[in-house]
């Protein structure tokens, strides 16, 4: 499948908006989950980096798999439903059309974005942990550094949402950051 054909399918199915939405929503999920996990390790006082890295990787993989499978199942069903309705309106089969190809390909593309977003963001967040494990000395320590990365990513996701939605980017970024800080606060209280 060529890039030009993929663009045509995305345009026909209005999937760019869905993929953008899924990227942000699930990216946020991934970032907040990592933040929560790392904060949990921080307040518990247990700082065996190997355990932290393994737990974070396992959570990141689970988020990725969940994202891929859930999005594929729901998108495939929705696309089939839309195609059936369109064929009824057209009173003809659309088997040879872009619309039928969209039913095959778009769920995979959407699922990929849905799964890759939290996985990629989680991997970026745990980079300080890997660096520390590799021997690098971080000013604020590996856990606090990783949490700082998570907070920056959450802020940037909020900024992106603000730009997409046409609202003031700083306000949108700060709103997302506030949610993250409340989460951190709650975990601190639990600990």
């Amino acid at each position: 499948m060529e890039l030009k054909q993929i663009r045509a399918l995305l345009e026909i199915s209005h999937s760019e908006e869905i993929m953008r939405r899924y990227f942000v929503v699930n990216g946020f999920d991934g970032a907040l989950t990592m933040l929560g996990l790392i904060m949990g390790f921080y307040v518990s006082g247990s700082v065996d980096l190997a355990v932290v890295i393994t737990s974070c990787l396992a959570a990141a993989l689970a988020l990725g798999m969940s994202g891929i499978s859930s999005a594929y199942i729901s998108e495939a069903a929705e696309r089939r439903r839309i195609l059936t309705k369109l064929e009824e309106a057209m009173v003809t089969s659309l088997d040879e059309s872009h619309h039928a190809r969209a039913v095959t390909w778009i769920p995979w593309l959407v699922a990929l974005v849905n799964g890759i977003a939290p996985l990629l963001i989680a991997l970026i967040i745990i980079v300080p942990l890997w660096l520390a494990r590799g021997g690098m000395v971080l000013v604020f320590g590996p856990l606090l550094s990783a949490m700082a990365v998570a907070l920056v990513i959450i802020f940037l996701l909020g900024v992106f949402l603000g730009r997409v939605g046409g609202t003031f980017w700083l306000w949108s970024g700060l709103q997302s950051l506030a949610v993250a800080l409340v989460t951190v606060g709650l975990i601190y209280l639990i600990g």
Partner: protein, 85 residues
């Protein structure tokens, strides 16, 4: 040897792709193709178009394939101009 130089087609298509993208897809089939589209009717899921295609030598098979590929359906050929050489 005959060549088809003008076709007026009655086409039913879904809203996507829109009329501009659809027309471009047909026009891209030949270097000298001139395509004109008039939207005759619009309903919830579909629209009916009258498409006029002009060129020195129109390839009806590829035009029909492009129509199907874009999810549209050819209802009728309303006008044809053919030149015998």
């Amino acid at each position: 040897m005959v060549s088809v130089q003008r076709l007026v087609l009655d086409i039913l298509k879904p809203h996507q792709p829109n009329a501009l993208v659809f027309t471009r897809a047909i026009a891209s089939l030949g270097e000298d193709y001139r395509v004109n589209v008039r939207v005759l009717e619009v309903d919830e899921q579909t629209e009916t178009l009258q498409m006029t295609i002009e060129g020195d030598r129109l390839d009806f098979e590829s035009i029909n394939s492009a129509i199907s590929e874009n999810g549209a359906s050819l209802h009728s050929i309303d006008e044809v101009s053919v030149v015998g050489k």
